[in-house]
Subunit: 406 residues, 2 copies
């Protein structure tokens, strides 16, 4: 007998028919003799519907109250699901975050779980009850409802699995697992049998479609094995697990890309101490995340600075930077929304040389100009012209032999 | 400065526009310097929509889970309302039942409030915050969500008013107050300025459209003055208040009627001890409420028994009674769904003679046959042929001079 956490996303819960299919999965696991905790998202589209209701009232709804509103989506699905299981003769109980004490900090809309009191869940599991927990929501120290951000139900599931020391956390979604790259742009993309937490984190731009990044951080911290799999087929998906020796033999595990990028360059910045902080303070102060930063070697006391920001923050960042640029006496500010970031990811890189140059050569062979480069221990990213994204991904996928099973 | 509880029903909260109108009312009260607690129902139609969602799954949804489901309706309105007030510059916070500790018993779908811990509400009121509480819902000793039955938000409002020792509980609805009778069938019906708790309780069949009966019992027990008024006009409505000497001068305050009735007669029942309990045990055991019971004088060791049940339980009651009738050796079981109960109500009846005979004469003058009669201290009810309901109500309304203001 194992303790198994099963999380189902909104696309698996679009209507009563889909919910019935999900119930079959859960019942099968229960019948196999396991203790089952089910974590559910809102029905597909519900959260967006609730948010637009709030926006009918005002542009910036009070964050505490917005969380009260949008957390109803999950409350509806867990109740319907428990009604269904009970009607089929299985003992099931729904629980909201405050009922199973999923405690978070106070950041409404993007709260982080800091504690779960599993007493109630364990008691119900021991009674043979299927425990159905509302994903996405938490409770702060005031007893207020918080929410964990888009995809937060993944984190609910992994956090509960961690707290229960569950044997596995299964994340059921509308794709069959984690792929070597996006199958939509690279038909040769292959489903990975397994991937390490760190690789999954670096694959963020792809992974975000499959798993909330924070859930992977949580899983890594507490060593929770995650099984990403499809709600619609029986086949195994991808295991997201701690790194092992075997994984290092594979040099590159996947190719990620991110079109949600824009580039800003400030030319002829007077090169004096503190200038970088002066430029970035207003941007980060506005909550804009700066990803890559590149500063050319200083010549004649001036330097060019280039950095990337999320594309939807581009306009705001340009405004802020233009002000600062004037203040510090830089020449001009150039912006480019037509860029993309392409990355190769793999824990094997650590012990293999020549990976970067192979990447650069591959791109050069396709006549793709590299605008910026950044590297980490297990990732190399290049910023390129957006229109070459698909070409670059396919070329790299071939070059590193990702189409071949191992 | 007063503490004022204001409750708004679903018809006042049909869409964002209506919600904005409700907000104006609340803000006006707040601006007048009062401490305001707002209790809200779900948006019109929402609760029914949620219930039919559950019925898509099964006929008899698990009651605990059904309460989790249907309580989301009020959660949505309180969040939207607090978002609106905050966007208009007024500090407001929404609270669910468990957050302001509205404790109930464990009867899902028809729970009774037994305690409210007002600490949190009082703290927020003292801070100048408008407290917005979800009606209809409660929390049992397990921390499970319960609901208080149709119209339960009235009871939430009155219970909070009682717990806070509020100056008044205003119930805003889609009618302008409590009328001497149903204006739809008697155009001369007049809005009452005031009515006693007991009269309001006896006017149940009319009152249920305006106030949940249980809220009146609550108000009576804790001496909470209720002001029933319209969300749509400024005018005063009807005060539901403790009885006073003045009220006794009015003999009849209102005429109620109830078409939701059916009559069952069992003929030639052997008249022996315990026979009544034998007949009624299966019916009440099935949760069917028997209203009036009439047993004729026994002749030759046999008696006829007649009683009324709610019309939607008629079939079930007939089946149960037919079985028992055979067992006890009665002659036959007759049913009649075409009946109505017409009642005159007034605390003044206690000290006035001749009221009953005036009622019977009035009906006789209209050639309306009285099938059954029952009386209480402040009410006389007659069962008549359903088709005469409107005629009877109008005749009685005239006979007791209810069209004349006092």
């Amino acid at each position: 007998m194992a303790v198994i956490v099963q999380k189902f996303g909104g696309t698996s819960l679009g209507n009563i028919e889909s919910i019935k299919k999900v119930a079959k999965r859960v019942i099968k696991t229960k019948k196999a003799g396991h203790e089952v905790v089910v974590v559910l998202s809102a029905m597909a589209g519900e959260t967006d519907k609730l948010i637009s209701l709030a926006h009918e009232i005002c542009e910036n709804p009070d964050p505490r109250e917005l969380d009260v509103l949008i957390s109803t989506g999950e409350q509806v699905t867990v109740a319907l699901f428990a009604i269904l299981l009970n009607s089929l003769g299985y003992s099931a109980k729904s629980f909201l975050a405050h009922q199973v004490r999923i405690y978070t900090d106070n950041f409404h809309g993007r709260a982080r779980i800091h504690d779960i009191d599993t007493q109630k869940i364990i008691k119900e599991l021991r009674n043979g009850t299927i425990v159905v927990v509302a994903g996405f929501q938490g409770s702060n120290d005031q007893g207020d409802i918080t929410t964990l951000g888009r995809g937060g139900s993944d984190t609910t599931a992994v956090a509960i699995a961690a707290a229960l020391n569950a044997n596995i956390c299964e994340i059921y979604t509308d794709v069959e697992g984690v792929y070597t790259t996006d199958p939509d742009i690279c038909p040769k993309a292959r489903k990975l049998k397994r991937i390490s937490y760190d690789e999954m984190l670096e694959m963020a731009s792809l992974g975000a479609k499959v798993l909330q990044i924070r859930s992977v951080e949580f899983a890594k911290k507490y060593h929770v094995p995650i099984h990403v799999r499809s709600s619609f087929v029986e086949e195994n998906g991808t295991m997201v697990i701690p790194e092992d020796k075997d994984m290092e033999r594979v040099v590159v595990s996947g190719i990620a890309y991110d079109k949600d990028q824009a580039r800003i360059t400030i030319t002829k910045v007077p090169d004096r101490p503190g200038i970088a902080s002066k430029i970035f303070a207003p941007i980060t102060g506005a909550g804009i995340v700066v990803d890559m930063i590149l500063q050319n070697t200083s010549a004649y006391g001036f330097t060019d600075m280039t950095f990337t920001v999320p594309r939807n923050e581009f306009k705001k960042a340009m405004e802020l930077v233009s002000v600062t640029a004037k203040e510090v006496g830089a020449e001009e500010v150039l912006g480019d929304e037509g860029i993309a970031k392409v990355s190769i990811v793999g824990v094997g890189m650590r012990s293999h040389a020549g990976i970067a140059s192979k990447m650069f050569t591959t791109l050069a062979d396709e006549n793709i100009n590299i605008m910026m480069i950044s590297t980490s221990e297990i990732k190399i990213s290049c910023v390129i012209d957006e229109k070459y994204t698909e070409l670059a991904v396919r070329a790299l996928h071939d070059a590193f032999g990702l189409d071949k099973p191992r």
